[in-house]
């Protein structure tokens, strides 16, 4: 998922004809003060980080003068909001709010299609509305082949207890939001709040747009023409390096290194290490073309100095275990890790894979996964005792 920053989401909304406040993206307190002056002094400074609950974190601040904007910006730049470093601020004119709505379109696994959400109770935690006043959150499942038709949008708006004179503009905003969702292969377009102004306009005060990574090949133009830079993926430097290599890697705080294939099997391997009293050092899933990725994958695991043993768990369905195993053995030849390694290999190609491990390392993979996990956990513990 590519989670866009607020100002990037608003760029897409504006292109689709949805009103957003006038604003400027700035990267210094001086620029924030300039922007505030140009926008009339009464502005909102909003930290551009891909995190929710920015308001609660103090990362969205209303100010009434350029000097105050300068002060707030000085405090926000470089600070941490939801695990993200603030590198840019969106300085926007303050809007006279008459009513706050909530509007979203998302991929719904239950109806297996797009779902439009609308509530007259915007501006607050929508989970709270959903939990305490579910009758105030209105939903409409859409057939993606026909899209959100204007009449359907209007019917949804009329169900949501809004003043009748705003029904048409709100419905129009919904169909435009749907256009953004459709045209960008979004998995989520969320506006909270969608504001009705004193002047009777419908304005998007916030925007969260997430674009489906699987659609990136056909959304390259959308991504390339967004203002600013895409937010960096969350996680550690090593995790981001892994992502660039096409590997799913999560660093954990234990000492048993994990190499497995498939998300389900890898999670299970990590669970089993905990079950047998050990602590996993990482989650690392290598897929079917592991042959080419085994060396960088193993390098990632070994780059953690806490790793005291390695557990290799392959279960081949589509992925051939002999191909994956050969890749790992070549990586072991190259990197020569000086830690005990336990293998367990099953499924497509297992006979050849087991023979390869025997021939090249002189060790025999365990028949049962549990035995391999126990061996790796025990080896890590013994080495810890030797070290201490």
């Amino acid at each position: 998922m590519v989670d866009l920053l607020e100002h990037q989401g608003k760029h897409l909304l504006r292109e689709a004809g949805i009103a957003v406040p006038r604003g400027t993206l700035v990267s210094s307190p001086a620029d924030a003060a300039h922007a505030a002056e140009r926008l009339g002094g009464r502005v909102v400074c909003k930290a551009q980080v891909p995190a929710g609950r920015r308001g609660k974190a103090g990362a969205v601040q209303l100010v009434t003068s350029p000097a105050e904007a300068h002060d707030i910006a000085t405090r926000l730049f470089g600070s941490d909001v939801g695990g993200h470093r603030v590198e840019s601020l969106l300085v926007e004119e303050a809007v006279d709010i008459a009513a706050e709505l909530y509007a979203a379109i998302l991929n719904d696994p239950v109806s297996k299609g797009p779902l439009v959400l609308l509530s007259a109770d915007g501006g607050m935690e929508i989970e709270e509305v959903s939990a305490t006043r579910p009758e105030r959150l209105h939903k409409l499942a859409v057939d993606i082949r026909t899209g959100l038709e204007p009449n359907a949008a209007l019917t949804l708006v009329r169900r949501s207890a809004l003043p009748t004179d705003v029904a048409d503009p709100v419905a129009a905003a919904l169909t435009r939001l749907y256009r953004v969702y459709r045209d960008t292969d979004a998995s989520l377009v969320e506006v909270n709040p969608l504001v009705l102004t004193e002047a009777g306009d419908v304005v998007a005060i916030d925007a969260k747009v997430s674009i489906d990574t699987a659609a990136a090949p056909r959304q390259q133009h959308t991504l390339d023409t967004l203002p600013g830079v895409l937010p960096i993926e969350p996680g550690t430097d090593l995790e981001r390096e892994a992502a660039r290599l096409g590997l799913q890697f999560i660093e954990l705080d234990g000492d048993v290194g994990v190499l497995a294939n498939g998300a389900g099997l890898t999670m299970t391997t990590v669970d089993a290490i905990s079950h047998f009293g050990g602590k996993p050092a990482n989650f690392l899933e290598i897929g079917g073309d592991a042959y080419t990725k085994a060396t960088p994958a193993l390098r990632l695991v070994l780059s953690n100095p806490n790793v005291r043993s390695l557990l290799v768990n392959f279960c081949g369905a589509f992925a051939r275990t002999d191909v994956m195993t050969e890749g790992v053995l070549n990586a072991i030849d190259e990197l020569r890790p000086e830690i005990p390694i336990a293998f367990t290999i099953h499924g497509t190609g297992e006979r050849e894979a087991i023979a390869l491990v025997r021939d090249r390392l002189g060790i025999t993979p365990h028949d049962q996964m549990d035995d391999a996990v126990r061996a790796a956990v025990t080896a890590a513990r013994e080495r810890q005792e030797v070290a201490s």
Binding site: D143, T213, A214, A215
Partner: protein, 297 residues
């Protein structure tokens, strides 16, 4: 969905490397592969199977109950819609990384036509002794043998491990239904369980779930109502919580998705929830499910 050895199966993308490789393996499992499709390559034969330029042509020449797709993700939607429009009742969609909007579009077309879809991002379906449709090692006797335990799994690799553990414990499978790892699926956990509850050959059900989404929670009511002995394993219970941007996803799942939520829902439904896969066999024995498999090879 269940596919038997009598059902005619179409392979879309049969002339590609994976299509060829798995056609032979599916045949070795007893699958009656009656035709293949590869645009521009009609008239060939792959492992004795006639190849057609289009699904429509293949459907005119053969009685096709199910189609399995070996096509790249950005072409999957068109391929599924081709199968749906040709009136094929069951489609197994293996590809990973299909854009979600394409998945929703092909599922909408399938639903309108009454076609059942398994997947996407699934390893497929195995009915030991009958057929294997997809990329599971249905041919490996230490992993699959005819029996009475129905398995529903999101993951192919973990499903393989669980199936092997069943054989080790003396149980065979009535069916292995790989529902797939995508967030939006043609056949959900609940829908796959419903198939197994109605399946004459199934005496017990094993649910292999994962953290995330609400499919296991949604299945709980059916598990409780069915009275079929059920054992479940949820992968990822010790995984660190994932970051989620926006709140709309959390509304739809209404707080579901965590390991605790799934375990609690399944236990409340009367299922036995185990901590590691090797406990599944003993848990079935404790529910007095009779072992049926022949000796593991």
């Amino acid at each position: 969905m269940i596919i038997t050895g009598d059902d005619g199966v179409l392979v879309q993308g049969i002339t590609g490397k994976q299509g060829r490789f798995w056609t032979e393996r599916m045949q070795a499992c007893g699958t009656r592969v009656v035709a293949g499709v590869s645009p521009g390559r009609g008239g060939q034969r792959i492992h004795e199977v006639p190849v057609y330029d289009s699904v429509a042509e293949a459907a005119v020449a053969h009685d096709i109950a199910a189609s399995v797709l070996f096509v790249p993700p950005l072409r999957a939607r068109t391929a599924v819609v081709d199968a749906v429009e040709a009136g094929i009742g069951k489609v197994v969609c293996l590809a990973e990384h299909i854009p979600s909007h394409d998945v929703m579009a092909m599922l909408a077309a399938a639903r309108a036509a009454g076609t059942r879809v398994l997947g996407p991002n699934t390893a497929g379906l195995v009915v030991p002794g009958e057929a294997s449709v997809g990329i599971m090692p249905g041919f490996a006797p230490n992993i699959f043998a005819k029996g009475t335990v129905g398995v529903v799994s999101r993951s192919g690799s973990l499903g393989t491990l669980v199936s092997m553990d069943l054989i080790t414990s003396g149980y065979g499978q009535s069916a292995f239904i790989g529902i797939g790892g995508d967030p939006i699926l043609g056949t959900t956990t609940r829908e796959a369980i419903a198939t197994l509850v109605d399946h004459d050959g199934t005496d017990a059900i094993v649910v292999v779930g994962e953290i995330g989404g609400a499919m296991e929670e949604d299945a709980a009511e059916l598990i409780a109502a069915s009275g079929v002995p059920t054992v479940a394993f949820i992968a990822g219970r010790t995984a660190p919580p994932h970051r989620r941007m926006g709140h709309a996803g959390a509304i739809v799942t209404a707080g579901a998705g965590s390991g605790e939520s799934k375990v609690a829902a399944l236990r409340a439904a009367g299922a036995t929830v185990v901590d590691i896969p090797s406990q599944i066999g003993p848990a079935l024995a404790a529910l007095e499910v009779m072992p049926t498999a022949r000796e593991a090879a």
